[in-house]
Amino acid sequence: MTAEKSLFTSYSKTIQDGDLVIAYVNPLDMSAIHVKKDAVLNNKYGAFLHNNIIGKPFGARVESVKGNGHIAFLHPSPELWTQTLPHRTQILYMPDIALVSEMLDLKPGAVVVESGTGSGSFSHSIARTIAPVGKLHTFEYHEERVLKFKDELVAHGLESIVEVNHRNVCSDGFGLEDVADAVFLDLPSPWEAIASAKQAFKKGKVGRICSFSPAIEQVQKTCLEMEKNGFYDVRMFETLIRRQDIKTIQKRPLPTRDVVTGHTNNNKSKKKPLAADEEKEKDNNGEEADVVVESDQANGALKEGQVIVSKTVARVAGHTSFLVFASVFVEGDKAVVTADAKTVAETAMDLEDGSNAGDESNAGKRKRSMTDDGQKS
């Protein structure tokens, strides 16, 4: 087991000087910051002294200096990192990350080969899942991305688990043999890396591969190349997460007619819709919006005429990417070995000059294009 401490591979209870924390304002406003004695975090909710954060439990809500707002400081996790990391490329998000990890049988001790590293979104998750005894070999041909990711690994205490390689895997291959349990490809032309990926697999066992591509033409070429190289059990998935929007609304009774005046009474709620919903009202093609009410939800008490409703939130991007999975067996003459527990060298964490990841914000999910090599526009 490793003696090195990474907040991505083990939990800590108290925030310490130098720790990476996630400043959480709301689901769309989170940032990753390195806590540093005497530093100040300024945002539109006020100024937050790092000294007030140090020593607090992870997950504490902390007041701004003027007391006009508070935000929570959360323990980092690969999922939160994915939502806060500085985008250097397009990245993988949780639903794809989850499915790929499961379908590639990732678990402690697994040796994984990945290309390209991109922004390291998936790499962090892989590291968490295979630690403390596994190893990730990740490959990226864009030098600056390699260097940035190297810095992150040091700042996040992951150097003993992750090794970044500066290499063009399509033209030069992975240069690995008999090491991998799983290979993950997120490349513009994954088919060019299949043959070399096969070499990387452990011999005498069945390994798993996944290729992630947005376009069906890429999938086609990749599948053919997989078939040519003896990969089998080829399966393709697409996965999308749908958030549920849940609220309490006022039921609308049928209109009635005033028997005296003859006027129609629309039985509109007297209550004005909440400000935020006015926008929604306009979107509704002239139809009147439902009246959302703030009920005393804590004890589930609904007032007369109220009902709790839910609907699936429509997502703009209807399609992300295709995930192609396959198995492969590489014949080997050597005796079967079970991956031996690696003794990982002790590495001191240098958090002082960590990256200022907190300044960047999540640019949101964008549709990938086939030729895009991931460069952020």
Partner: protein, 426 residues
């Protein structure tokens, strides 16, 4: 990371018909019978890789084969392009072999005197309509015959992934419809690390326990991770775990269990039991056993302490709101609460409570749509397709936080800052 098959292992066998069954290689001397597909010697599977395909030879030995490889009959797509099904007569007329002939050959194949590949080839060569079929139809014909007569099977590792798919397609009620994408998200959203200490409730046949154990173990090495499961009944019902090949002692070390009904001690568990006034050995033995069981339960209860756990993951048959209210205090700050349910409605009251409480952040309910596609290559994809339409279930997530000094002021501020539901545009 599929492993190597060892004596004593369970193996999930997928037969040519796509039917699956779990076999136990109790000893190398066993003969394993796969019904009409024949039988083989357990010894010939031992030492071989999991997740590979094998063919039963007439001797009962196994040969590792390429699972995609079909019978050796060349199909030329271009040459067959002009063929179509229009002049096919009723299919029964097109086989030159008589029913009796086929039955006899089948028996020979079953007894190990005839290679199943030879049998299928025979059938194809004696089919008068085969030549006139389109390439696609030819492949389909062979595939159909293979499903019927082939002795090729896949020896799958009984991993959480394979068992999840197995139960989802065959007995979804056993695992309450947990689909592989949902299971995978429980692991991610729960930030499961090898050394996590996680509180769980599993009414999904042990699939959740099994999935977590996989992510927290490596051979028999102790990675520090622990699971604490509250049991629906008096004893655990984690069948799925029994089918997974964890090394001996690993499950006992990592997993603690305590029935729901025993979270709070009963009065006789608090006060020491009076020593029985008897010299009867049976009575004394019974007393000693009770004392031990009480001590054990008390030791388990001691682990259920305030903020002790790195997460709460539920795939339970019980009401989520009640369950969360009961267990939340044991969850540490900044640790995830993740709840699976087949039904969105059962999650809603828990969601509303979390939204209104200063003790939780970012409560969300989501559903995942996962679709499997036919792969765009030939000869592959013998899998049953994952149901595209059905639901894989719903997940409620939130993070437990330390409201601390802000607790009092939280109701207005948290609505303004931490819970801007009205401004969300997802």
């Amino acid at each position: 990371m599929a492993g190597i098959i060892e004596e004593g292992h369970k193996v999930l066998i997928r037969m040519p018909s796509n039917n699956c069954k779990i076999i136990h290689l109790k000893s190398a001397n066993l003969k394993i019978t796969l019904g009409k597909f024949g039988q083989f010697n357990a010894a010939s599977l031992i030492g071989r890789p999991f997740n590979a395909a094998y063919d039963i030879l007439p001797s009962g030995e196994l040969e590792m084969v390429d699972p995609t490889e079909s019978i050796d009959i060349t199909i030329d797509a271009e040459e067959d392009a002009g063929n179509n099904n229009s002049y096919l007569v009723a299919r029964t007329d097109s086989q030159k072999l008589s029913k009796e002939d086929i039955e006899q050959r089948k028996q020979e194949a079953l007894d190990g005197h005839l290679d199943s590949k030879a049998l299928i080839k025979d059938l194809v060569e004696n089919s008068t309509s085969f030549e006139g079929k389109t390439a696609f139809a030819k492949q389909k014909y062979i595939r159909r015959k293979e499903r019927k007569f082939s002795k090729k099977f896949e020896a799958l590792e009984p991993s959480a992934r394979n068992l999840c798919e197995y139960y989802f397609t065959t007995k979804p009620q056993k695992t309450r419809g947990v689909r592989i994408d949902t299971l995978s998200q429980l692991m991610c959203l729960g930030n499961v690390m090898a050394n996590s200490n996680i509180l769980i409730s599993d009414s999904v046949g042990g699939l959740l326990v099994g999935g977590l154990l996989e992510r927290m173990t490596f051979g028999d090495m102790d990675l520090g991770g622990r699971l604490f499961a509250l049991l629906d009944g008096d004893t655990s019902n984690f069948d799925v775990v029994k089918d997974m090949n964890f090394k001996e002692g690993v499950v006992d070390r990592v997993l603690d269990t305590l029935p729901w009904t025993r979270i709070d001690p009963s009065s006789h568990e608090v006060e020491p039991l009076p020593t029985p006034d008897s010299t009867d050995e049976a009575v004394l033995l019974r007393h000693a056993k009770r004392v031990e069981s009480i001590a054990k339960a008390n030791a388990l209860r001691a682990k259920l302490s305030e903020a002790a756990f790195d997460g709460l993951i539920l795939a339970s048959q019980f009401d989520p709101l009640e369950t969360i209210e009961r267990l939340a205090k044991y969850v540490g700050y900044s640790r995830p609460v993740v709840v699976f349910s087949q039904y969105k409605e059962t999650l809603v009251p828990a969601y509303l409570m979390m939204r209104a409480s200063p003790d939780y952040l970012n409560a969300q309910i989501s559903e995942t749509m996962t679709r499997e596609y036919q792969v765009p290559v030939s000869g592959l994809g013998t899998h049953p397709f994952m149901q595209a339409s059905g639901s894989g279930g719903f997940i409620l997530t939130a993070t437990r936080v330390f409201a601390g000094d802000c607790a009092a002021a939280s109701n207005n501020t948290s609505n303004k800052h931490a819970q801007p539901t009205k401004r969300r545009k997802l």
